[in-house]
């Protein structure tokens, strides 16, 4: 049934995101949209010694897109850049552990795509 994807954790991260906010002196910022629904995510990250020191997001959108990015940032914080680069869609979906229809998949992956862009932006600049 569709509504089963709204697990307690999802709803909790949606209602009370732990990684929402700004990083004033961020090393990299990336922003992406889901063109079909208008969901938006902006990620700001701070790196040092090849490690994700701090990472936050701002966004507007559905429970899936917003809770996913919140969960995602929790995972990657304090990981090495290499680990983030090797972190795949499949890895992330396994952690989320909910079954998603193809269009909902886009919601869930908006944050991950934006994260990859942020890292890429950082790497091509340093």
């Amino acid at each position: 049934m569709n509504s089963e994807i709204y697990r307690e954790t999802i709803l909790e991260h949606y209602a009370n995101p732990v990684n929402a906010g700004d990083i004033p002196d961020a090393d990299a910022t990336a922003r992406d949209f889901n063109p079909s629904c208008g969901d938006v995510v902006e990620i700001q990250a701070k790196f040092s010694d090849g490690i994700v020191k701090d990472i936050k997001f701002r966004g507007e959108g559905c429970a899936i897109s917003q809770s996913s990015v919140d969960i995602l940032l929790g995972i990657v914080k304090n990981k090495t850049i290499a680990e983030v680069e090797n972190f795949t869609t499949e890895d992330f979906l396994e952690i989320l552990g909910i079954e998603l229809s193809p269009l909902r998949l886009k919601c869930a992956l908006l944050g991950l795509n934006t994260l990859k862009t942020a890292v890429h932006t950082y790497l091509t600049r340093v």
């Binding site: 509504s3 429970a63 899936i64």
Partner: protein, 406 residues
């Protein structure tokens, strides 16, 4: 009810489909409509009996395909009461029609300092093409809405100036349901010697539209929203303006004579139709018009109004249901939000009940910003919808509240 939706439903094969073991409640016809057997059969019959590339040779099939194509054009002309079938250009959809006007009318005729007057309720199809003109110093101006979701006509009167070369307005809003007084707006535009364009994508499927009565210079609409196939639409234009316009798509069929470096354009309407035409689409649109005409556009409009009244009554009882406007507009389009739940999640949970509604920005981001919303849920009704489906919608919205603990 005056219109027997149950009877019409039988003509639409897709309603035999079950989703999550429930009958499909398709409340997204403002996005695209479902197709009756008559339209599907017309397409099938065309390919099984008459298919050929029209205009190009003189064998029997080619003759038939040409007649079928041009008869469909005549049918469209009659449907919107155009003066002549020369004024009917077959396009892909409303978006393409607007692009023809932006490229072949505006880019050729407007210059720095000129203005295009639009409204804040326009669909992206009637905004983004015009933005192209900005790089040559043409200014886009947007008339606002009133607090009840109607267009601010006073403001329109104030904003129109001697520099306003084009006024382009939607006949009916796909978000608000507002039906604009395009006849009055056209009068204002013409008094100002502006070209007057109507986006008919939402109006033509749902109410009688008469281009002579409206006296618009151009009208654009899409077949897929009015029971017809995808990828056929119409640009109506007054022939004297079309005659003077440069073609848009260039290539075969739109020419009379091609030299290496110059070309004589074909007559109207073919001047605007390059390459192998979409006979299939025209056939399907023609069958769709037959169907709509038999039901009656005024009947359809009345039916949608009845459903809107019923829905507002029913939905207003649900906790957290917030219509975009307080339901003063009863035109078959109900845009709303559920407090505490994003429209995307609303649509997703409704799918469990086989209820299909649109969620998101509705291809109207400027309007969304004006309304202070990032996203919206929309239920829209058509001739095949019933009160039972609205009951199911209500049931689904209760479940939304339950899941999101509202």
């Amino acid at each position: 009810m005056s219109l027997n939706a149950e009877k019409f439903r039988e003509d639409f094969p897709i309603f035999k489909r079950k989703i999550n073991n429930r009958p499909l409640a398709f409340l997204d016809s403002a996005s695209t409509s479902q197709k009756p057997q008559q339209v599907i059969d017309a397409i099938k019959d065309y390919y099984e009996q008459h298919n050929a590339n029209p205009h190009r040779s003189i064998y029997t099939l080619c003759d038939e395909a040409t007649q079928i194509y041009e008869k469909a054009r005549e049918k469209v002309a009659k449907f919107i009461n155009a003066k002549s079938d020369k004024e009917i250009i077959f396009v892909r959809n409303t978006n393409e029609a607007m692009n023809i006007l932006a490229y072949s009318y505006a880019m050729e005729n407007l210059k720095e300092g000129d203005e295009i007057l639009l409204t804040i309720m326009e669909h992206h199809a009637n905004i983004v093409p015009w933005q192209m003109l900005q790089k040559r110093g043409v200014k886009l101006k947007f008339v606002d809405i009133n607090d009840d979701g109607t267009l601010n006509l006073n403001q329109l009167n104030e904003m129109i100036t001697k520099n306003t070369k084009i006024v382009s307005v939607t006949h009916k809003s796909n978000v608000l349901g507002t039906v604009n007084n395009v006849k009055e707006i056209g009068r204002i535009a013409h008094d100002n010697e502006s070209i007057f364009i109507v986006d008919g994508a939402q109006a033509v499927p749902n109410m009688p539209v008469d281009v002579k009565d409206l006296d618009c210079d151009f009208l654009a609409f899409s077949g897929h929203k009015m029971l017809g196939p995808m990828n056929i639409g119409v640009l109506y234009g007054k022939s004297d303006i079309l005659e003077k316009m440069e073609p848009f798509m260039r290539g075969s069929d739109m020419i009379k004579e091609v030299q290496l470096t110059e070309t004589v354009w074909n007559d109207l309407p073919w001047k605007f139709e390059a390459g192998t035409p979409n006979v299939e689409g025209a056939v399907g649109l023609s069958a769709a018009i037959d169907y709509l005409s038999k039901v009656g556009l005024s009947e359809i409009q009345k039916h949608e109004e009845e459903l809107s009244v019923y829905a507002m009554e029913k939905l207003n009882e649900i906790k957290g249901f917030k219509p975009v406007f307080n339901g003063t507009l009863k035109n078959g389009v109900i845009s709303f939000n559920m407090v505490g739940t994003h429209s995307h999640d609303v649509a997703y949970i409704l799918d469990e009940f086989a209820v299909a509604i649109r969620s998101g920005h509705m291809c109207c981001q400027p309007l969304m910003r004006r309304l202070g919303m990032q996203s919206i849920a929309r239920a829209s009704f058509y001739l095949y919808n019933t009160k039972e489906e609205i009951d199911t919608l209500a049931e689904g919205l209760e479940k939304v509240n339950q899941v999101f603990k509202v």
